[in-house]
Each structure stands twice: as C-alpha cells, then as structure tokens.
C-alpha cells in the first residue's frame, strides 16, 4: 500500500500546485458492466467523465465489476462498484479519483496550506482542534487523516534557524501518555523519545519534515509538519488493539540500531502477557528473567542477578519509589499487579546519570495513568489469585485515576485439604496500587501513587511470617518552556518483616525488621538545540533502619528482648549529563553523578584492632555518636559515558562505561532471596560497594528491520561488596561487621539476542555466556574464602539459553512457547564426615565448587481472545497454559539433613511435574 500512497500523494500535491481551485460540474456515467476487470471499468469511467482515476493495479487485479447504471454521477457509480470490497475512494476538487484499500485518503488541505509562501504572520495552527473535527469520521479514518495533514507550526523562526517542537504523545482512546515512543525525522536524521510523561522535545532547523512516531503498543504513525518557529504538537496515537501482536519488538525497530542507549531492555505489558507462567498470572519479574544477562538462583526466586551482580544491586523503582522486596510468597509471584503496569525498563549497562545507588541495574516500573476519557475496568481470575482494576477520568482529559487490587485465595484452598498440617498452614497475600494524575494547566501536572503489598504465611502451624512493602510518591512537573522542564518528586518507601513463633509459649517470640526511606529529588531536562539533550538534577534520601528486634510474645514467654540499635543515613547526589549528536553517525553521552553518603548517629560504633580478624574479641573501643552526628562519610564520582557509531543505516556499534556506587547492602545467607533478608547501611566499619562496567555491542537489523540482532559483551569489576565469613550469622547480630567481609568480584560475558519482529511467528532467542566470580583475600587467612582465590558466585551460570516464541493462528488464537536452559548454579557440598573431638564433623568442599543439575524447562500457553468487536460491553480472554511441560524436576534447593547419624541429601523441586493453569481476563 505504501508505494501507492506515496505516488498518489505526490501526484496530488503536484496537481494541487498546478491547477486552479474551481469546482467543475459532475459528468454523469451510463453503462452496463458484466464481470468487467476493474482496470477496464476505470478507463471507461475516465472516458465518460474526464476524470483521472489513480489506483494500484495489484490491489484491484482480482476485482471484476458487474454494474448497470443510467445517468448517475461518478461518486454514486464508484460507491456501488466498490461497496462490497475493501476498496475506498476519494475524489478531489479537480476530479481526481484515488482508489485505496481499507482507508480513503483525505484529499482536503489544511487551511493555510497555501499561505506558506505568501504570509509570514500566520498563527500557529492548533492541530488538536483539527483532529477533533475529523474525529467524527471514525477512528481509522481519523488517524490517517492526521497523518496526511500537513501541519504548519510556529512562527517567526529565521530561515534555517533552529527551533523547538515539543508536545506529548498520548493514547487517542484513553488519553494516557505513551512512554518511550520515538519521534524522528529521517532526513535530516533527528529524533528523540518521549519521557515518562509522554513528553518530547525536538530541535530542528525550520523547514518541512515527515515526523515518524513509533512506540510500544501503539500503531506506527507519522505527522507532516512545516516548522516555522517554536511550537507545540500534541500527537494522539492509536493503541494497537490486537493484544497478541508482538508490539514491543516492533517498537524497537529502529531503536536497536539508532538508539543511543545500550544494555536497555524494555518490555510492555502486552509482551509480558504472552509469556507463560506457573500460575497463569502475568509476572513481570519472570519475564525480565528471560532477558539475556538476567539470572536468578532458583525457580521461584525473584532475586535478579543482572550481569553477574548480586540480588541487592538492582534498584527497583515503582513510579519512583524504591521497592525492597519485589516478591510475594517467597518469590512465587512478583509483587506487581500486571493490570496496572505500563512499561518495565531494565538498564543493564550505560545506566543514566539520573539513577544511582545500586551497582548492577535499574529496573524502572511505570504504571498506567488511567483512562482520561471514560470509565473502564479490567480483571482476571486465576487458579490462585484474582485481580481487578478500575480507572477513569476525574476531570475529563485533565485528570484520571486508576486503582488496582489483587488478592490470593490460597488460604481457602489450604483449608480444603485433608491434611492437618496443611490446614494449619496459611499463605495469603494481596497488593493494592492507586495512581492519580492531574493536569493543572499546560505547564503543570501532578501525579500521585500509593502502593501496598503484604504477605502473611504460616507453615505447619507454629511460625507466622509477615512482610510488607508500602510506598508513596508524589510528583510535580513544570514546563518552563518548550526546551526546558523540571520534575520534583517526593517518595517514601517502607519495608518490614515480622516473624512470630508460637510453637511453645515459653519460647513465643517476635522477630522484626524495618527499613524506611524518604527521598526528595529534582530532575531537569533541557533541550537547547538538536545536538544536545541535557539532564541534571539533585536528590537526597534519608534512611531509617530498625535492623532487628526479638521480643517475647505473651506473658508466659521467657525470651529476653534483644533489640539492635537503629541505623540512620543520608544519601545525596548531584548529576549532570549531556547527550551530544556530533554528526549523523556519531553520538556520545557524557554524564557525571556525584554521590555523598553520611551515616548518622545516634549509634555506638565498635572499633576493631586493625591487625586482627574482626571478631567480638578484637573490639578495642566503642565510640558513642549523638543523634544526628556523622559517624562515617563516603563520597565519590560516578561516571556514565556512552557512545554510538552508525556503521550503516542498519548497523551500529555502541560502547559504554559506567561507574556506580552503592551504600546499602542486602544481607542474606540463603542462596535465594528470602523475606528474612535484611538491608544494612554502610557505616564506620562497612564500606560502600563500587562497580565499574565496560561494555561494547554490535547491533544490526535485518530484512528491513523485521529481524533485530545484537551482540553485547561486558566486563565488570565490583569492589567491596558484601560476602560472608564462614559461619556468618546475620540475624540479630550486634556486630555484623565481624561476620561479613568485603569481597571483590569480576564478571564478564557475551549476550547474543535475535528478535523476530513481526509476522505470525515472532519472539526472541537469546544466548548468554557469562561468568561471575568472587574473591575474598583480604584480612587474615581465616577470613579468606577458598584460599583467597576467585570462586564462582552463587549465581554463576555460564550457559543460558532462552527462547520465547509466539505463533498467531488468527486474530483470536495464539500460542506461546517458552524454553529455558541454563547451567546449574554452584553449590557447596558436604563431601565426607569424620569424627574429631567426640563428635561427627562434616568436610565441605570449597565454597561453590560443585553445581546442581542443569536447569531445563519448557512452557506452553494458548491465548484465546473474545471477538474483537469494538462496541462490545466487555472484552474477555482466556489463557490456558502448561508450565514445565516436560515435568522435569529442576532442583530449587539441595540440602542435607542429619538423620540418625547419617547425613542425607535431598533435592527439592518446586514444580515437579507439568502444571496446567487457566486464567480468565476481562476488560470493560
């Protein structure tokens, strides 16, 4: 279709320019056509009416016209001839007829189009007004109308001078911003992408442009503009309504090669929906785990290990608030309700200067803004959980709310079981997210988000685990002008757990932990001209940690209270980054972040003898710091540099270097993330972690951007991250520094990714070879691990292969296959036992010297959509899936128990056989 459009359009333009505007009287048509080929039919019409008919012969080649007409106008003849076909026609003022498939072209001109040459003081046209007037003609027509309109924008710009075009890209139906959509001109090659508000700002020389718009979950579109001065252009785009189409990939079409960013994986909710999961519920963290370079230690662990980094080295932001435990039920579910999510972005390298505080990655999760035009809802019913989302406008087109909840009913299932220990067990969780956005005026908008997720489970009756994430964020965005805007964000995060043991009233106790984080940040973006994009800002966050307390429960309890002293700290940062497009082929981004950390009193700090291993017995002094006194300060620069060089139109090379610093550490002595993990701030005795990453990648798009291939390789060094001494105890330890050591790490790897972008079969294949090694050789020999040599980290899984494939049978049926293979993770094994000192002892291997069996899993899902009628009351879909199709018992954990003097090994597999699921989803 495209060539025809272009041909027709050019003709149309040239004709417009050549001919006058007079309206000629309609000539009438008479004829008797029986199975006449369309081409012949057209030439007869041309002969009778002196009009010209333009069409693409390929489109009409099988069309035979059977028609009898007497003295009828051309318009009515064409209507009759084409009424049962997909063809549409349009007739312009000069009797040119354009036959097109699907959508009629708009032959009208924008008012003022011809004034271009004559008048210099035209006011900027309000394109949105234009759009609303055409909207009545139907959705599909509307978009193409906007596409074929030429917008003349701005005034007063000097000829060839640089002007700025800015605005928002929004979803036409709901009014929600489209995040991460690209808007670009192909010649000259200038482009940008929308930020989290759907805002873009493009600086171009005055002139005429075809601006193309591509984005996640939206249909590709374009706008033609004649830019004469600084102007605004609000763009509304159509949602890609077939949820099964692989939109993400399409969205990244040009970005893979032309985008600046490397090591960025972007997923939208529609892609995530396609990946089969164990309980039928879309799970963002599960999907993130299929991306190259992302691993986890076990099947149901949502602890991410990004490029050889530890699980605590990922900054998880949920609408700008930090999430400390992103999992429900020990990691069976991620703590984010899929219905409210818009996009998930994972930065693995080239982390923007805006972000800091974690070494390995940033996982940014953004919720939807809610439908600004009408009230709607959606939900789902799955085997273990159900969820419901409501959204709608508060003030139409200006403010919207969205609220979403999810709850499990596994408690109910447990009670149905015939086993008393299960009946005494309980496992329940829920989460609620609410978001409100309000546009105060053209320059000011505010956004507020609240989030609550909580888990409670009791296993075989005596111990109850409870944990809770609470976050709130408030954001105010102010546009100073087209080229400059700022965002002020305040956020609060709380995470806490609570374990109560009531097995025996004498020992009944409660173990608690809590972390509170309050942060304020101001971020500014400035687009001075087409070569520079400048971001700068400042942030500060205050931490309060109650690192642990054990308190008696009930009057009978003999437990003596044990409370660790609280920790406080302030982490602040300043950043500046400039993205410079040096020429068509080369762009660089230079960023610097400077972070400062102050650990604060009140606190009693132990000082240790410097020449001895830190133990309780090497404490030489205790220093008391008053409230608010700084007990330790750490600071340093964080460099963020990246560059892109385009080799050809569809291939490029990108390189980046970044340094990151981290002042908060997760302490976990179980291999996987568990709710009893605690977060510890850097202090006098515990240094911050520092990481450097160098990466380089080659990106190439094949077959006219339908296949995207990339190879990225990286080398990482990590300093002073936390590892544990042999025999470390982490819970309720008053001198945790005696049990942890500062480790060095190195990680390197190659990630190969091939994505098939469109078509009935689509998906991605990735292979990663990577190593992640740790070395602990500081301190005394007894502190060293494995003799001070490098050893594999807990998540060192060298080979990793993932296939996500989708096959679309029709618009309503599609299937997905997920296949994952990886090397088993390292494990320390007891090799033998022996008797020394009257007791049995166990001889262990070197730390992580062995591996659990390889991991292999295949999942299959079938999605069945209801009919696609637009005017249905509710849209529904079914997802039927089988998780772990082969039933392979992949080990989750290998553990050893001493039973009657024998030490026995056991392999625990969580999903020991194929697990079928059915989920019903609805939307109204």
């Amino acid at each position: 279709m495209k060539p025809l459009y272009t041909v027709a359009f050019l003709l149309f333009l040239s004709l417009c320019a050549l001919t006058g505007h007079g309206q000629q009287p309609d000539k009438l048509v008479t004829g008797d056509f029986v199975r006449v080929p369309f081409e012949q039919f057209a030439s007869q019409l041309e002969a009778q009416t002196a009009s010209r008919i333009y069409f693409d012969p390929a489109v009409v080649d099988s069309l035979l016209v059977t028609l009898q007409v007497q003295q009828q106008p051309l318009r009515s003849v064409l209507q009759q001839a084409l009424q049962n076909t997909a063809l549409r026609f349009a007739i312009d003022a000069d009797n040119h007829v354009f036959i097109t498939k699907g959508t009629a072209i708009d032959t009208g001109l924008m008012p003022g189009f011809f004034q271009q040459a004559t008048s210099d003081n035209t006011m900027a046209t309000r394109p949105d007004e234009e759009q609303t007037t055409t909207q009545a003609e139907g959705r599909s027509r509307y978009v193409s109308a906007a596409e074929y309109k030429v917008y003349e924008l701005g005034t007063g710009g000097a000829d060839g001078g640089k002007v700025t075009l800015a605005g928002h890209i929004r979803d036409q139906k709901s009014g929600e911003p489209v995040i991460g959509a690209t808007i670009y001109s192909e010649s000259p090659s200038i482009g940008t992408s929308t930020d989290q508000f759907g805002y873009y700002s493009l600086t171009l020389p005055t002139g005429r442009y075809d601006l193309k718009v591509r984005g996640l979950g939206i249909k590709n579109t374009k706008r033609q503009v004649i830019l004469r001065g600084n102007a605004k252009l609000e763009i509304e785009v159509e949602e890609d309504i077939t949820p099964l189409k692989e939109v993400v990939i399409e969205a990244e079409k040009d970005k893979n090669v032309s985008g600046m960013q490397m090591g960025l994986d972007k997923l939208d909710i529609k892609t995530m929906r396609q990946v089969p999961t164990a309980f039928g519920e879309t799970d963002i963290l599960r999907v993130v785990l299929t991306l190259p370079g992302v691993k986890s230690v076990g099947e149901s662990s949502t602890g991410l290990n990004v490029r050889g980094g530890a699980t605590d080295q990922n900054l998880i932001l949920f609408n700008d608030a930090t999430i400390y435990n992103p999992a429900h039920l020990f990691g069976f579910f991620s703590a984010f309700n899929p219905d409210i999510l818009q996009t998930v972005e994972l930065y693995k390298s080239a982390i923007p200067a805006k972000y800091g505080g974690r070494l390995s990655s940033v996982l940014e999760i953004t919720t939807r803004e809610g439908n600004k035009k009408k009230f709607s809802g959606s939900g789902g019913i799955g085997p273990l959980t159900s969820r419901l989302t409501l959204e709608g406008p508060i003030v139409k087109d200006r403010s919207a709310f969205i609220i979403s909840g999810r709850s499990s009913y596994s408690d109910w299932l447990l009670r149905r079981l015939n086993n008393s220990s299960f009946r005494n067990s309980s496992a329940a969780f829920y989460d609620v997210t609410a978001h409100i956005s309000h546009k105060i005026d053209d320059k000011n908008s505010v956004y507020a988000t609240g989030y609550l997720s909580t888990d409670r489970f009791r296993l075989a009756s005596d111990t109850t685990y409870r944990y809770l994430n609470q976050t709130a964020s408030l954001k105010w965005r102010h546009n100073f002008n087209n080229q400059f805007y700022g965002v002020l964000t305040g956020a609060y995060s709380h995470y806490g757990y609570d374990i109560t043991s009531e097995q025996n009233e004498v020992n009944a106790s409660r173990l608690q932990y809590a972390i509170n984080q309050t942060s304020v940040r101001a971020d500014f973006s400035y687009f001075p001209n087409s070569r520079h994009t400048i971001d700068f800002g400042v942030s500060s966050q205050l931490y309060h940690i109650a690192p642990g307390s054990l308190t008696p429960l009930g009057a009978e309890s003999l437990i003596t209270p044990d409370v660790l002293q609280k920790e406080q700290a302030v982490e602040s940062a300043l950043y500046f980054s400039d993205r410079i497009d040096i020429n068509q082929r080369l762009s660089v981004s230079l960023g610097l972040r400077y972070s400062l950390f102050n650990a604060l009193g009140p606190s009693d700090v132990y000082r240790y003898a410097s020449n001895d291993s830190r133990t309780e017995n090497s404490i030489i002094d205790t220093v008391r710091y008053a409230s608010g006194k700084v007990l330790a300060t750490y600071h340093g620069p964080e460099y963020r540099v990246s560059a892109r060089y385009s080799l050809t139109d569809n291939s490029s090379v990108k390189a980046s270097y970044n340094r990151t610093r981290q002042y908060i550490h997760q302490l976990s002595n179980t291999a996987s993330v568990s709710p009893t993990d605690i977060w510890k701030l850097s202090d006098y005795n515990i240094r911050p972690q520092v990481g450097d990453q160098y990466s380089i990648g080659y990106y190439r798009n094949l077959k006219s951007n339908t296949i995207e291939a990339s190879v990225e390789t990286y080398y990482k060094t990590l300093y002073d991250f936390v590892d544990y001494k042999s025999g470390a105890t982490l819970i309720l330890n008053h001198h945790i520094e005696t049990d942890i050591v500062n480790a060095r790490g190195k990680a390197y790897g190659v990630e190969v990714l091939v994505k098939k972008l469109t078509g009935k079969i689509n998906g991605w294949v990735s292979y990663t070879y990577s190593r992640s090694l740790v070395q602990v050789n500081a301190g005394t020999p007894s502190d060293q691990i494995n003799g001070g040599n490098y050893y594999p980290s807990n998540f060192d899984k060298p080979h990793d292969f993932t296939l996500i494939g989708n096959y679309r049978f029709s618009r309503r049926f599609s299937s997905s296959l997920n296949f994952t293979y990886s090397t088993g993770r390292p494990i320390t094994l007891p090799l033998a036992k022996y008797y020394v000192g009257n007791s049995m002892r166990v001889y262990y291997s070197d730390r992580n010297a062995y591996r659990v069996p390889d991991y292999l899993r295949a999942d299959l899902a079938l999605n069945i959509e209801g009919s696609h009628k637009v005017k249905k009351l509710a849209h529904s879909s079914w997802t039927i899936g089988v998780y772990n199709l082969t039933g392979r018992r992949n080990p989750y954990s290998i553990y050893f128990k001493s039973e009657n003097g024998q030490i026995k090994g056991y392999k625990l597999s969580i999903f020991g056989q194929p697990i079928p699921t059915v989920t019903y989803n609805f939307k109204f």
Binding site: L413, N419, F422, S425, A427, L459, A460, I499, N507, S509, D612, N617, I619, N669, T670, S674, Y724, S726, G727, A728, T729, I731, L732, S782, I827, T828, L829, A832, K833, Y834, Y835, V836, G837, N838, S839, R841, V842, Y843, Y844, S845, R847, Y850, R889, Y892, S893, I894, Y895, F896, K897, S898, G901, Q902, K904, G905, Y906, L908, I910, G912, Q913, I915
Partner: protein, 381 residues
C-alpha cells in the same frame, strides 16, 4: 536464638502439598555425583600431651550417608618428633588408637606428629610450640530460675595462655523407681534371683567445642566462663551429678581451627544456617600434596578439675524429673494374659496383686544398665 523448622522443608510442604494440590514427589533423595566416591582422607584426632600420655586416634573420612562407625586406621607407624631432635614412637592399642608412655615435652622446643600409614603415605602435623596450660582455679555453678549453669575460672599470671579450650566428662547417678520382686522363668513366677542393680552411673563426653580467649582483656583471666547448663527439670540433677572439666591452652592458630570447626558443624538444619566452609587443620601429607588430612595436632598440657553437685544443694522447689516418669504407674497384667506378656522379655513383672494379676513394666524402667553402667566409677564418693 529461636529456631524455626528449616526453610527448605517448609517450602516443600507448602509447594508440594498446598499450592499444587498434592502433586507427588517434590523432594527426591539426592546424592550429587561429587559424593559418589567420598574422599578417604586421614583423620587425626588428639593432641601431644606435654606432661603425660599422648593418645592419638586415627580414622578416615567416609561417606556422609554411611551408618557405620568411622573406619579406623590401623597398623600405622606413629611417632612424636621433636624439631631437630629425637623421635618418640607411639604404640597401637586398640586398633586405630596410638598411645605414648608418659612424657614431658621440652617447652623450649617444637614438636610434631609423624604418621606412616599402612599404604606407605607419610603425614606430619606442623611443628608447634609447647604451651603450658595453667591450672583451673575453680569449677563453680550457680542456679537461677532457668536452671543450673556450670562455669569455669582460670587465669595465667604470665599472660601467655590467652586462648583456651575445654572439654568435659559428665557422670550422674541413675536410680530406677521400680524394683521387681519376681521374675518369670519357664512360664512360672519366682522370687527374683539376681536383682537388678539399684544404682547406675550415666556418662557422657562433651561433643561441643568450648572456646574462649582473653586477647581483649588487659589480664589473662577467664572468669565464670559458662560451660554447661541444665534446665531446672533435668533428670541428671536428680541425685548426684559430677563433671570433670579438662582445660587446654591453645595457640592462636589452633584456636581459630576449633572456632571454624565449631561454626561449620554445630548448626545444621535451621533457617539461619551459616555458610559452610572448608577447613582441614595442620596435618599434611608429605608424600602426596593432593592428599588431605583432617585434624589439628597441638602440643600442650592438660589441667582438669572435677566437681560434684548433689540434689540437696539445689533449690528445693526445682521439679527435677526422675527420668522414669513414663514408668509410673505400672500396668496391670491379668492372669490370663501373663504368658503372652511375660514371654516377651522386655516386659518385666514387679509383684502380684492378689486377685487381679501382676504389675508389670518395661525393661528400661527397671534395668538402669540400659542407661549407664552399674560399675561404680573409681572417683565416685
């Protein structure tokens, strides 16, 4: 520290049973390939007694799932070697245990243990300095609402010891509550011919590793170091209880060895399991570097002290268990059931209740030799 059932077990319960509606077989026995041929390393247990008899036990590491006692290493040639000095051979008796005559090692010299195994491999511990263990000042005990706490006190005027290790032997009296007057032999009752012992002595060696150091103190004093504690209800405190505490001076290196060994092997199966680590000791194979050996051989003297604690010394209101609570009250066996019951030798008749039958109990309730020895220890008062 509170203890929770181990996390993997709980997870298993949860996922196998509940979430997935009783899908079978989430937990499979698993022996990793690395364990199919367990290493057969030499294990050396003991120390060089600088003022007395040295006793060294040699054994081998063996499969973790074995049920047997550790394989002993017999017919080895074992000797104490003084650095650039004489060699003192040890004699084997019984198999795997090698003993010296009573020796006095020169505190100015260094010593090691040399082993030539039957298969021709030579092992030696590193040369260690001789440490002189200061005497135990006292072994004391105190009671509180929680129970009994036994403590050790010692000091070294010369400030040379600093690192201490202890172990102990416990002995206690066992007196059954029930005494049979009859016995059932050849399907008839008769007055008992050989009465069961009235009293036995239970005995246990410490299995825990007990350590302390004074490096952070200005003087080398151990005060009230808690060695052993019992709840107020413990049956061992029912009659007379005795503990023999042995004290060993350690070098810093040996102290660290025991500290690691303690952390490594004394906590298994809790949610808060510490990470295990590989530790061997100071014994090396001289002929084959890849061959490891377990154990640490230090050279020091032993100091010991025994105390007795009698029931009368403990608070009156302590409800000390008899240890035979389950034996009370005895069962009554009707006349018609006598044959079936008492032909089974673990059921013991006590006496007749005329017209009803015989009172009976289990063998464990009357024979204290199942819980200890009836031979009075030589040190028992």
């Amino acid at each position: 520290m509170i203890r929770f059932l181990s996390l993997p077990l709980r997870l298993a319960l949860l996922c196998c049973g509940a979430l997935l509606l009783l899908l079978p077989g989430c937990i499979d026995p698993y022996m990793p390939d690395g364990l199919s041929g367990p290493p057969n390393y030499l294990v050396v247990d003991g120390f060089l007694n600088s003022q007395g008899v040295t006793s060294i036990k040699l054994s081998r590491t063996y499969a973790i799932d074995a049920r047997t006692a550790p394989p002993v290493e017999g017919r080895a040639t074992v000797a104490i070697e003084q650095e650039a000095g004489p060699r003192i051979p040890l004699q084997e008796a019984p198999a795997g245990t090698y003993t010296s005559t009573s020796l006095v090692l020169n505190p100015a010299r260094k010593y090691r243990l040399h082993i030539l195994t039957q298969d021709g491999k030579q092992y030696a511990s590193s040369y260690v300095a001789v440490k002189n263990t200061p005497p135990i000042d006292s072994v004391t005990w105190k009671t509180s609402a929680d129970g009994l706490d036994i403590q050790v006190n010692t000091h070294d005027e010369t400030n040379n010891t600093q690192y201490y290790r202890w172990d102990y032997d416990e002995t206690w009296e066992i007196i059954p509550l029930l005494t049979p007057l009859l016995e059932y032999v050849n399907n008839t009752f008769r007055p008992i011919t050989t009465p069961y012992p009235r009293i036995c002595w239970g005995n246990q060696n410490s299995t825990a590793i007990d350590l302390a150091k004074t490096t952070n103190l200005s003087r080398d004093i151990i005060s009230k170091h808690s060695l052993r504690s019992y709840p107020a209800t413990s049956e061992r405190l029912r009659h007379t209880y005795s503990i023999l505490v042995r004290q060993y001076a350690q070098t810093q290196d040996e102290y660290r060895y025991w500290e690691m060994l303690k952390k490594n092997t004394e906590n298994i199966g809790t949610l808060f399991d510490p990470l295990p680590s590989q530790i061997t000791g100071n014994v090396r194979c001289l002929t084959d570097e890849s061959e490891l050996a377990m154990g640490y051989i230090g050279a020091y003297s032993v100091q010991q002290k025994r105390i007795f604690i009698r029931r009368a010394q403990l608070p009156n209101d302590w409800r000390v268990s008899t240890g035979y609570d389950i034996c009370i009250p005895p069962d009554t066996v009707k006349y018609e059931d006598v044959r079936g019951t008492f032909n089974y030798k673990l059921n013991i008749p006590l006496y007749e209740i005329p017209g009803k039958g015989y009172l009976a109990t289990g063998l464990d309730c009357v024979d204290c030799r199942l819980r200890g020895t009836s031979v009075k220890p030589s040190f028992w008062p």
